[in-house]
Symmetry: C2
Subunit: 224 residues, 2 copies
Amino acid sequence: MTARTPDSARDIPEATVARLPVYLRALTGLAEDGTTTCSSEELAASAGVNSAKLRKDLSYLGSYGTRGVGYDVEYLRYQIAREIGVTQDWPVVIVGIGNLGHALANYSGFRSRGFRVVALLDADPDRHTDVVAGLEVRSFEDLETIVAEHDVSIGVIATPAVAAQSVADRMVASGITSILNFAPTVLTAPEGVDVRKVDLSIELQILAYHEQRKAGAIETEVLS
Amino acid sequence: MTARTPDSARDIPEATVARLPVYLRALTGLAEDGTTTCSSEELAASAGVNSAKLRKDLSYLGSYGTRGVGYDVEYLRYQIAREIGVTQDWPVVIVGIGNLGHALANYSGFRSRGFRVVALLDADPDRHTDVVAGLEVRSFEDLETIVAEHDVSIGVIATPAVAAQSVADRMVASGITSILNFAPTVLTAPEGVDVRKVDLSIELQILAYHEQRKAGAIETEVLS
DNA sequence: CTTTGTGAATCAGTTCACAGCA
DNA sequence: TGCTGTGAACTGATTCACAAAG
C-alpha cells in the first residue's frame, strides 16, 4: 500500500463532480473569447458559483493554479476534461425515438463533449424506416449486437414510462452500466449500474412551488 | 404576530421540495393501481427513497398519516399537490422551437401536471408558419402581449446558448418570475426571479466520470 | 402490535478566513 | 503584494432509534 492513493483514485465529492462539467463549459467559453489566464474569481463568475467553492472543488483534482496569478485556461480545461473522462470518446445508444429521442439524437452538445451516438433504437417497426440525425432507426432487438459491436457502456432511455424499466433491464443484461433516464418513472438497477434521471416536469413543479410562495408573500404584504 | 406561521408558510427544505414531485408521481401510480392506503415503507419503495427520509419529508407538510396504519393515497396525493401548487393551472410560454422546443411543446407530462403551454415563440420568421402541438409558432416580439394576456409567470427557454441570456432578460422585463433553462449556458437574473436549468450533456458527463472510475477499478483489481 | 412523527446523532456540503507561495 | 489552497467553523441534509398514537 502506498501512503497516497495514486492518480485519479482520490475520491471527489458528488456535489463537486456535478459542477465539473459546468467549469469545463465556462473554461471553453473563456478560451473562445481568447482568455489565456483567469483568477478563481473570474472563472467562478462565468460558472455562476462563488470563488471559495470553485477553489475547494478544484483542490480535489490537484494544484493546477499559480498563487498570485490564477489558472491557465487551456491547461485547467484539459485537466478537468481528463478527470471527467471526456477526453476519450463514449459510444452511446438512444432507445425511444419519439419527440424527445429525436431532439436528443440531433443535440450537438453530445457530439462536441465526447459522446458519440452509435445507434437509435425503437420498438415500433413503423419507425424503422426513419433516418434521424444521419442514423437509421433500428429495432430494439438489435441492442445486444450493437452494444457488443461498439463496446457501449452508456444508454439513454427516452421511451414512455411504461416501457422504461424493461428497456433498462435489457440494457443491463446486454452489458450497459450507466443509464440516463428521461422517462418519468423510477428505475431500479442492480448494484454497480449507475442510473441518473432527467425529469422535465419535476423541474417545472419545483418552480411552481416557489412561484406559489411568491404570490403568498405578496398577499401577506398587502394584508400587513 | 401569531405564535405559529399559518397555513403553507412553513419553510420546507429545498431537498424536500425537490422530492415532493416524485412522491406525487408515485402516489398517482399507486392510485391507478387501485391502492387506497400505503405505509411509508411502500410509498418510499415506489419513489426510490428510504422510508425514514420519506417520513421526515412528509412531516414538514403536516401530519397526514395514521400511526399503525399508513397514509390514505388520495388524501396525501391531494395535500402534496396543493403544497407544490399544481392543483391550480400554470400558464407557460416556450421560447425556441427547435428540436427540443418541439419535444417540450408535445410533452404530455406538462399538461397532466397543471401546466398549460399558452404560446410557442421563435425569433426565426421561417418558423412562424408552423403549427406545433396545436399551437401556431409566433414571433418573439409577441412575448409581452402574451405574458400580459395570460398572466404568465413561468417561461421555458429552449433556444441556442447564445440567445438564452437576452431571452431571459426580455422574459424578466415582461413580468416572468420563474425560468426553466434548457440552453447550455449560465443565466443571470435579478433577485426574486428563480432560474432552474436542465442540462442534457452535464448528466451524461457525470455518468462518464463514474464509468471511467469503474474501468479504473477493474484495472486495479486485475493488477492486485 | 404496528407504523407514524420527530428529537438527537451523524454525515455531507458550503463558507470563512488566512497561511503559504509566486 | 495578490491569489491559491485548505484547515476550521458552520449550515443543511440524512439517518437513527424510539416515544407517542391508533
